[in-house]
Amino acid sequence: MSQFAINLLFVGGSFLIYIGIAVWAKAGSTSDFYVAGGGVHPVTNGMAIGADWMSAASFISMAGLIAAGGYANSTFLMGWTGGYVLLAMLLAPYLRKFGKFTVPEFIGDRYYSANARLVAVICLIVASVTYVIGQMAGAGVAFSRFLEVDSTTGLMIAAVVVFIYAVLGGMKGITYTQVAQYCVLIVAYTIPAVFISLQLTGNPIPGLGMFSTHTDSGLPLLDKLNQVVTDLGFREYTADVDNKLNMVLFTLSLMIGTAGLPHVIIRFFTVPKVSDARWSGGWALVFIALLYLTAPAVASMARLNLMTTIYPEGTQSQPIEYEARPDWIRTWELTGLITYEDKNEDGRIQLYNDKNADFAATTASERGWEGNEMVVNNDILVLANPEIANLPGWVIGLIAAGGLAAALSTAAGLLLAISSAVSHDLIKGRLNPNISDKGELLAARISMGIAIVVATWLGANPPGFAAQVVALAFGIAAASLFPALMMGIFSKRVNNVGATLGMLSGLTFTLVYIFVYKGWLFIPGTNNLPDTAEYWLLGISPLSIGAVGALVNFAVAFSVSKVTAEPPVEIQELVESVRYPRGAGSAQDH
């Protein structure tokens, strides 16, 4: 059986399961569509949150980033898990007690202001759409690689599949589909990692393997890796970073953004009780951690395997000849994600850090190297990992299915959050309060369809961003929604004007700082300052600014509230009531 047929079998088989579940769980009422009738068990819900949360960024690209950056990119690991602590303690149980469908609905009711709700809808849509573009693009690339079609066709296939089950199923369909997707993606991620950990260290648990002894050299694995990469002019894998302020703020932005992203918060409305909302957060993190504890091992082992492939006799000997390169390099070259240029015309692949001036002047020139000759895109590392380690064909098929599960489940969750904001908050809450249940459901499905078309179109013509999209989505959520939600629960004093101005100033501050360095609306060449460390204010990168934006939001909201009228008594009573679990019914309509 050819690799193509195996991929088709795994991807096609997993999709039949998802679509089958979506049809089986077809939503009947609006409450079913948004929150699965409030009847989802915390463990089931935790798994669904896991699939919802772990996107193409977690599955496909995070380990690649850690492999390239080493310790410095631990920020992703801590940032994308630590947010759940904030979520479980500061938001989830109280929002569950409040018992409504959407995040803007809470903000609108708590701040007794249609304008606050509208601002929240805008923040939600901007954050979610930017995030979903990245997912669609990621799914498109994965489809095109594994089904051997061009990337536009891959994107179209992705759009059709998301459309079918998200639009038909609603939340209930999505919840159970996402449980299936979680199982597929975690098995796909873990199996190759276990194989590779056994090959390199003899330890079957990757998270322990990365701290054990490398079988071939007898050295600790990370020592061996440090030695190999420094021999080639790279920084030590475990090297500390100098700019700690930026590292702290970046981690904080990711954590606060995690807690403020509406497609995750919405999940906590689907459990039966307030106490279950607390457990759900814990279970979600357990299921997420299974991947996040494995990812750093995948990163370090893949980096070592890659270097060993290029320098089979060790870094002091000659690298391999280009003509003798393994098959996986040949196949990935076809996608353009690995490129080779024989700069010194010796027919071999010199892979090293030519940005390191000292190394270029000494070792590299002594060895007759005239520049790095092979560029390996970080994003292919996880997908190529089984091939690099010579694992059997079915593992490659499995990882294709897992990567697509990750991208599609997140895209569907985001689309649900967008569609409920449009139909429930914008149309029912503002434009046409008398809309029927049926009309609202139709509006939700239409807005989902529109969002897919927009995301697919932007995913097909990406305006040159990948990491920026993710950073913007997290920055916006961190700087706008999280502070408004938290203050809405923990302060009775913050009022309508304070919260609205807080959200607007946090959002504006964050967007402006990003656009100054990344270009206005990400249009290349429109940036005012170059996006390099020496131009950043206090060394804070645009990726880390969301945390500062959140502080601005808090500060503005508190000071404006202090000089304006205090919230009415019934609002203070509302705040009081969300703090106590007693009396929580299931999520309800008006």
């Binding site: 850690i66 310790y71 631990s74 690991l77 801590m78 898990t81 630590g82 759940y84 602590v85 479980a88 303690m89 500061l90 149980p93 998270g207 990365m210 701290f211 054990s212 050295l219 600790p220 694995l221 990370l222 020592d223 061996k224 440090n226 475990t238 500390d240 700690k244 590292m247 702290v248 981690t251 904080l252 009780k273 307030v274 106490s275 607390r278 457990w279 957060g281 814990g282 993190l285 357990v286 951690a289 996040y292 504890l293 750093p296 009573e573 009081e576 009531s577 703090r579 106590y580 679990p581 007693r582 009396g583 929580a584």
Partner: protein
């Protein structure tokens, strides 16, 4: 509405204390051990590297899980103690 009864106030204070304590540990394991205090922990070796690196890539995540479950367990008890749990 139960409003400002004595017990309700103490319930909320107990919750805030628990959150504060949990977040101190949360910050210590991530921002502390894994980032800012890493140089101070450099002497403690863990499999080819130091304790700070382990906290950054494994330990902080494990701590987060324990924290959430501890909070959920403790808080559900406090709910019952103050009689504000769900029927």
């Amino acid at each position: 509405m139960s409003g400002h009864s004595y017990d309700a106030e103490n319930y909320w204070k107990a919750n805030l204390r628990l959150i504060f304590g949990s977040l101190v540990i949360w910050a210590l394991c991530s921002y502390g051990f894994a980032i800012l205090l890493r140089p101070m922990l450099a002497g403690i070796a863990v499999g080819g590297t130091d304790l700070g690196f382990w906290f950054a890539q494994q330990g902080s995540i494990l701590t987060f899980i324990v924290l959430i479950f501890f909070y959920a367990w403790r808080m559900n008890k406090i709910d019952e103690q103050f009689g504000v749990h769900e029927e």
